[in-house]
Symmetry: C2
Subunit: 554 residues, 2 copies
């Protein structure tokens, strides 16, 4: 009978804070102790957990990298009885190539035994890794307790079929030459609503190809616009999902490997695979929560219009921050309809959150009066519409400054796309909560929020959307119906279809021209928008870099 080698491995799925070395290091050390108390032989953390991910241009500071190295030394002190795999940037010791590697340190018995460098460096969408890192070029498994661990970092397992045209190498193809026993992947893989499914698919393709089991540890929590969903995985060599850590929560779980008998001795509980809208909902909640926590703020304010966007943002904020920490301002103008105020109050009562009523008419009229000598009898137009939105912005920011609230922005992705919003008005805010959620998805979110009974009053969901900046205004006066608009925007933004292709897909040419002109013509506005919580594969912000003065498509 062959010798059975048992190995207990802990997966540490934690929430880090970029550059907060003391907090990250303490958290890592606590997790090491917890794993040790559970008799784990090895504890696996996530990509760049020591520095937090993504550290961006902090990586260009030598001092920052030195602090990373100091943290590794500190962590090493706690590894006399347990081995640790921890992600951390390291200096490239060679004179050639970028200054840094995106590395994983294997630490055991108080010292760094081996280092693995990330080979496949994503440099698309929100990723800038080739801005900082040199690709790893060696592929040595880590020998631990007689077993070979094929340690990889995030993207390294995403070229499994050599079918990813971005890369010409597949790190595991190299490592497998040395017959490893287990794939371990340390990730910081940002959420989007398609991502969990893709991740399971990719991991399955890996285990089936190499016929060895895999452990995947992801970061959890949000860092400004990027949200990490956790959902760390243990998968058998036959592709069975044996364990998955919860989504959007910190967790430390252990798994027992008995090599040579079976690749794993038990199947743990698997969290429910969420619906797309549930995923988006939970992602937005943690996005708000972490933005506030990491900036050291507690209280949010927002303008509650009686429309569906601010209603959904209020519900998400209450869930993230607690009802006692969220304040709404109801800011009616002479153009606001009665039901707007009633609906807003009704929602606030349902949520049991505070609101104040601050009419904008006094200040709107004061501006009109100040401007009268210059505007004379010119007709009411976008200038006066924007004035109202800006008065609201000023009032909200005054509350923010006086009482220490962060203002939440309530613009949705459809509006952001076509520039249907006032810069320095309703585009104000520290964080855009639903700027990556199309209007049609906002309705889905509202219904999801109401899944166990009415939270958002039905009238808010059913009435026609309106900015209420002039008499009897409706969004549909100046925009196509949202169900058509959103489909068109999705093809242009997410799928990057050009005008001819959009017409081939069945959209009317006039509509295509009009919408594309609106989208491209509002890059200058979006340039100054708050960071947008990213939940789709292509969000506005850092992942979409368009010229402001670009002439392409109008």
């Amino acid at each position: 009978m062959p010798l059975v080698i048992k190995m207990k491995i802990a997966l540490a799925q934690l929430n880090y804070h970029v550059g907060n070395f003391s907090a990250n290091t303490s958290k890592i050390i606590s997790a090491i102790k917890e794993a040790e108390s559970k008799a784990a032989d090895l504890v696996v953390f996530s990509e760049l957990c020591v520095s937090g991910y993504p550290p961006r241009d902090f990586l260009e500071f030598d001092d920052f990298i030195n602090q990373c190295a100091d943290a590794i030394k500190e962590i090493a002190k706690y590894t006399s009885k347990i081995a640790v795999l921890v992600g951390c940037p390291r200096k490239n010791p060679n004179p050639d190539g970028k200054d840094l590697y995106n590395a994983v340190f294997f630490i055991y018995e108080g010292e760094v035994k081996q280092v693995i460098d990330k080979t496949l460096l994503p440099n698309y969408d929100v990723f800038d890794e080739y801005r900082y890192f040199e690709p790893g070029k060696s592929f040595e498994p880590i020998l631990f307790k007689g077993k070979k661990l094929a340690v990889t970092i995030c993207e390294d397992v995403w070229n499994v079929g050599n079918d990813n045209p971005l890369y010409t190498i597949c790190p595991l193809d190299e490592m497998v030459k040395q017959s490893p026993d287990l794939i371990i992947n340390l990730s910081a893989s940002p959420f989007n609503y398609t991502h969990n499914e893709e991740r399971l698919k990719v991991l399955k393709a890996n285990v089936l190809k190499y016929n060895i089991p895999a452990i995947y540890v992801n970061q959890v929590g949000a860092q400004t616009e990027l949200i990490f969903d956790g959902g760390s995985i243990v998968m058998s060599k036959s592709g069975e999902l044996l364990m998955q850590l919860p989504f959007f929560e910190e967790a430390i779980e252990t798994v027992d490997f008995e090599f040579r008998i079976s690749d794993l001795n038990s199947k743990s509980e698997i969290p429910n695979q969420k619906s797309e809208i549930a995923f988006i909902h939970d992602a937005l909640v943690i996005g708000i929560k972490d933005y506030f926590a990491k900036l050291g703020f507690k209280k949010a304010i927002l303008g509650l219009s009686g429309g569906i966007d601010s209603a959904v943002v209020l519900c998400l904020a209450v869930e993230a921050l607690g009802k006692e920490n969220v304040m709404s301002l109801l800011l009616p103008s002479g153009f606001s309809t009665g039901h707007s105020l009633d609906d807003a109050k009704h929602l606030s009562k349902n949520l049991n959150t505070a609101y104040e009523l601050v009419g904008i008419e006094e200040n709107f009229q004061a501006f009109l009066h100040t401007l009268k000598p210059f505007f004379k009898d010119l007709p009411f137009n976008v200038a006066e519409e924007n004035l109202q939105a800006r008065v609201r912005g000023v009032l909200l920011m005054a509350f923010s400054n006086k009482f220490g609230y962060i203002l939440l922005n309530t613009t949705n992705k459809s509006e952001a796309a076509v520039g249907y919003g006032t810069l320095y008005g309703d585009m104000c805010g520290g964080l855009s909560v639903i700027g990556d959620v199309y209007k049609t998805q906002v309705y889905e979110l509202a219904n999801y929020i109401n899944r166990n009974g009415e939270v958002i009053p039905q009238n808010i969901i059913t009435k026609a959307p309106s900015a209420e900046l002039r008499e009897n205004q409706k969004d549909s006066d100046s925009l196509p119906e949202y169900d058509v608009l959103d489909k068109l925007l999705f093809q242009y933004i997410e799928k990057r279809k050009g005008p001819k292709e959009l017409v081939e897909l069945g959209f009317e040419k006039n509509l295509v021209d009009r919408v594309l002109k609106l989208v491209n013509g509002s890059e200058w506005k979006r340039f100054q928008a708050p960071p947008v919580l990213r939940v789709s594969p292509k969000a506005f912000g850092v992942g979409r870099r368009m010229p402001i003065e670009g002439k392409y498509l109008g």
Copy 2:
């Protein structure tokens, strides 16, 4: 006596517009005709001139790339008698690697004869080329009229000593194996105030190393924050600067080569090498000019406070747009000093530009009144200071919306760095003109503007800076003196020194801690700032990507 081969080469240093295929193509064709009329054999354009540079994520649209290909076909029609080197993205025909190459097309006799792909792809600071492009891997000189042209693209000549650690290859080292006769470099090399000097140095190192002359053609004009200074070059094989095209202007010049006799038969006029501050001045002027031209706007507005920042911006705007196209608003509050208004009026008279006086007190008081039930008797603080700045922002934007002005932002780099400004207040604007110019450099600019006599009244230059948002306020109440602050900021921002290194450089520890905390704590504000015209090697904006919630350094 050896055969003399003569070749007349035209350098076309032009201003392109990203994605404006019809305008760019017409401009290229006109230049081809002009070069042909001057009996040129070959005309050399700049990097990615067909699409404009930088096209950013437009490159991810197949349709955009197809339009590039169409433009090449159109241009080819004009090459029956003259050869053309033109920069244009092209599809990567291989299944592996990124989708595109950053290419140069050699077109002659109506067809594309050869294509050169860029090998060294910058991916630092403002550059994202590895986001889109696969590096070129072949190094064939172009054979033309019996001579071999070593055609390279921008960065390709920047690893001449193999001393650039970012790259492991030097394209000319490969090409030189085939004994080329001339180096030709097509660039789109963004200006900063050190760049012309570096460029001459690098080009000289190239010609000396390979012992052949060089032609370097740069783009000119601005594309949002990036400014291209032109200054295209012909350099002899001994490193002599034989010709340099003007800075910040379009130009088409020809040069005659007589190979085998001398590498060049004459030395043309070389424009004066400008002082650093003259360079910055001229760059900012073209930056404003092109932002407006490419967006299709003519008229600018700004708030004229009587301080030096808005004074300098007004002068630059007048130079860029013409005095009839610039309007100032004088927006005094109860805290404004008498000299502020007088100085502002005096400057407007010197420039002969229009201004309007719009007191902010009525609207400020209206807001205080509206907010009184909520603010009660809480002390006057940053909320009321910001209110004044935001009332100014609202008034300026109202004029902007009503009359079609673009608002120019007047924040300087020192203020932007430490967050000394009000978001949605004085941080408003379509374009930040001096956001990459430290306060001490703003004074230099003012003196430069006054070089031929007083434009900016002396009192504006000599008085102590103040935001005038509370009684007797001075910048020095809350900030260190600018000469110290700017030196510290330069070391932190441009030189990326960490806190320990800054103390070693002689800055007081308290000051370092305080300033770094201010800089990092205002990332969230800068995230929403307008695009900043880039004139230094490290400007705020796309070239400096810092976490908003980063904890490093407080």
